[in-house]
Symmetry: C2
Subunit: 362 residues, 2 copies
C-alpha cells in the first residue's frame, strides 16, 4: 500500500519499464478548465473520450474526473471505462500521474515527482501535485516521493537502462534551479533505474508550455530503436532541433552499448491557432489563454503517440502528412494495430495523446 519510503526504486530493485512493455491500465484525466479548453471544454472532452475509447480497445482505462464533472464524464464514456473522482488543476496525466516502476517479481510502485506546473506557468497546481499520490492509492501501490520536479513527458526509457530526455526542459531553471545537471542525472538513475541518460538539446519548436518535453521529439519503439520528429525544411525552426537530436542520437549508444536505429517521422504542416479557437477560451481564470494567441504556431508532432497493449493510438491533424506518419508507425510496430485520431482539440490545450495518458505496467 502507498507508503512513502526514504529509499529509491533502484536501491529496491525497481526500474521503469518501456512503454512498449505490457500494461495493466491506462490512466487519463478529464479536461474541464475553460481558460485552456475552448467552448467550456466540450470539444476537448469529446477528443479525450475518443482517445479513451480507442485505448480501451487494447487495455483497461481509468478516467479521473472532478466531483463536478463526474456525471458528465461517466455519461460520455462507455461502461467498460472506469471513471473515478479526482480533483485536478488540469488534465495531463502523463505529467501529473506517477511514473510506475516494477521489479523482477513484477511488483509495481509509483514515483511521485514534485510537480510545479511546468515551471510555475499556471497556478494553482497543488491538486496536480497530489495526483500521483492519489493514483498510487487508487492503484494500491507503494509510492516514492521525490524532491525533484519532473514531468513524465520529459523522459522516455527503453526499460533496459537507457533514458532519453532534453536539456531544454530538465535543465530549465524553472524546474530544479538548485540541482546541477549531474544531480538531476543521478536522480534519473536512482529513480528510473537507468544507467545511461542521453541528453538531447531541445524539444519541438514552440513547445513552450513544457519547455521541450522529449515526448514530442523522440521515443523508443523498442530497445535500440528510436522514432524522431523530423522535417526536411531548412527554413523551419524545427530543422536545427531535429538535426541536433539526430546527431546526438547517432553518436550515442544505449546502456547496453548498442547504437540506435533512428526512424524519422515527418512532421505535419505548421498548425496555428485560429481566431475562432482563441475566442472560445475563457479569460476568467489565471489561466492559459495568453499562451494561445491567434496565429501562434503549435507543437504538432506524430511522436506524441501512446503505445497500448497491441495497439498504437496516434495523433492526426487532418494533414497530408497524417497518412505517411501512420504508415511509418505501422511499419515500426508491425505487431500492433495503429489507430490515428483527430487530435487538434488536444493540441490546442498544449499537448497531445501521449501527454494525456499514463501507463501502469502489469
Amino acid at each position: 500500500m502507498p507508503t512513502p519510503t526514504p529509499t529509491t526504486p533502484q536501491r529496491d530493485g525497481f526500474r521503469m519499464p518501456g512503454e512498449f512493455e505490457p500494461h495493466a491500465m491506462c490512466w487519463m484525466a478529464w479536461p474541464e478548465r475553460a481558460d485552456n479548453w475552448r467552448d467550456g471544454a466540450g470539444p476537448a472532452q469529446r477528443a479525450y473520450a475518443t482517445v479513451a475509447r480507442a485505448i480501451a480497445e487494447f487495455e483497461p482505462v481509468t478516467v479521473c474526473a472532478s466531483a463536478g464533472q463526474w456525471a458528465r464524464a461517466r455519461a460520455s464514456l462507455p461502461e467498460h471505462i472506469r471513471v473515478v473522482e479526482m480533483t485536478l488543476d488540469d488534465a495531463w496525466l502523463r505529467d501529473q500521474a506517477p511514473t510506475f516502476v516494477i521489479n523482477p517479481k513484477r511488483e509495481v510502485r509509483g514515483i511521485d515527482w514534485r510537480f510545479n506546473a511546468w515551471g510555475v506557468k499556471y497556478e494553482p497546481y497543488a491538486n496536480d501535485d497530489l495526483a500521483a499520490r492519489k493514483i498510487c492509492e487508487l492503484a494500491g501501490v507503494a509510492r516514492y516521493r521525490s524532491d525533484m520536479v519532473l514531468e513524465g513527458g520529459s523522459i522516455h526509457v527503453d526499460g533496459e537502462g537507457t533514458c532519453l530526455t532534453t536539456e531544454e526542459c530538465l535543465l530549465n531553471p524553472n524546474r530544479n534551479p538548485l540541482l546541477t545537471k549531474a544531480q538531476i542525472e543521478a536522480n534519473l538513475r536512482t529513480y528510473l533505474g537507468v544507467s545511461r541518460v542521453i541528453w538531447l538539446r531541445e524539444g519541438v519548436y514552440r513547445d513552450d508550455d513544457t519547455n521541450g518535453h522529449v515526448d514530442l521529439l523522440a521515443c523508443f519503439v523498442r530497445p535500440g530503436v528510436i522514432a524522431l520528429h523530423w522535417t526536411e525544411d531548412e527554413h523551419d525552426p524545427q530543422y536545427a532541433r531535429s538535426q541536433d537530436a539526430y546527431a546526438r542520437l547517432s553518436a550515442a549508444t544505449d546502456a547496453r552499448g548498442r547504437p540506435f536505429e533512428i526512424h524519422k517521422i515527418h512532421a505535419p504542416g505548421v498548425q496555428t491557432i485560429t481566431q475562432v479557437e482563441f475566442d472560445g477560451l475563457s479569460r476568467q481564470g489565471d489561466g492559459y489563454a495568453e499562451e494561445r494567441a491567434p496565429g501562434r504556431r503549435m507543437a504538432a508532432s506524430y511522436i506524441n503517440f501512446y503505445i497500448a497493449n497491441g495497439g498504437i493510438v496516434m495523433p492526426g491533424f487532418d494533414d497530408p502528412a497524417d497518412g505517411p506518419a501512420r504508415a511509418a508507425l505501422q511499419a515500426l510496430f508491425p505487431e500492433r494495430r495503429v489507430v490515428q485520431l483527430p487530435s487538434r482539440e488536444i493540441l490546442l490545450g498544449g499537448g497531445n495523446i501521449h501527454c494525456i495518458t499514463q501507463q501502469q505496467p502489469v
Copy 2:
C-alpha cells in the same frame, strides 16, 4: 468491470456471504455535514478515524472523502488506510455502498440498490444513490442495479441461505410502496441468493432514522447463531420489541432447517441527546437537526458491531453495560479480538459502527 446486467446474482450463481466470512476490504466514508454532525463534524471525524484505525488492524480500509475534505481525511488517517475522493451526501456506507456477493469461484460483484435516504427523510441524496456504482468501479467489480430501495443495514445474512430483516423497515411505504411483501422477499432471494427470509417485526426503539434497521437489533454470529439486542426492563419500550424478536427467532429455522441459538446482548442505559450536543448542530442545511432534539433518546445498541478478519469492532457508550457486552461478544467470537470504541459521536449522527462500514468479501 462494472457492467450493469439484467440478470440477478442468484441466477448467476452469486450469494451474499456472511459478514464473518473473509474480507478483502472495509469501505467507509468521511463525515462532514454540519447539520448532522456537531461542531463542524470534527468530533465525528475523530470517531470515524478511530474506527478506521481499529479495523485497519485486521483488514485493509478505504475511506471515501469529498473533494473538499480529502486533505483533512488524508491528514487524519495513517498512510496504510487508503483515502479516495467521492462525493456523498452523508457518511453511512453500510447503506450507501454496494452489497457485495460472491460465487463459488470467489468472483465478487456488487448490488447497487436504489437509495432514497431512508424513505426520503433527508435531501438531497442523489450522490448517495451513486455511491454503490462508484465503489463498484473503484473495486473493479461488476454491478447489479436493483430497482428496489434497500439499505445494507436492513439485512443480515448467514451466507448459507438465510436472511434476517424487519417489517418495520422493509414494508414501510416510504421505501417501496408499490411492492408487496412477497415481491420484496422475492427480490431478497434473487439478489442475496437466499432461500429463507426471517421477518422480525420492529427494530430498536427510536431508530426512527432508519425505521428499524435489523443491524441494531440482531445479527448472525455464524450460521445458526444469533446475537440479539435485549433488555429485561418491562417498562422500556424496547422490551416488547426484543421479546417479539426472540419469539419469532425461537419459532424459526434457518434455510438449512436448523433452529437458532440466540444470545441476548443487554442494552446500555438510555442514551439521550444533550443540549450542548444539539447546539453543536448547524441549522443551515436541509438536514437532520430536527431529529436531534435535546433529551431525545437514541437507539444505542451493542449489536451494531463490525466483524473484521480476526476482529470485532464494537460500540461503547461509557456505560456500565459496556464491559458485560464486550465480554459477551468475546465469548461468542473466541477466535477474534474484540475492540470496543467510544461511539457516542457516531450515535449522535443516527447510527453506529456497523452503519458506517461495508465489507467487501475476498
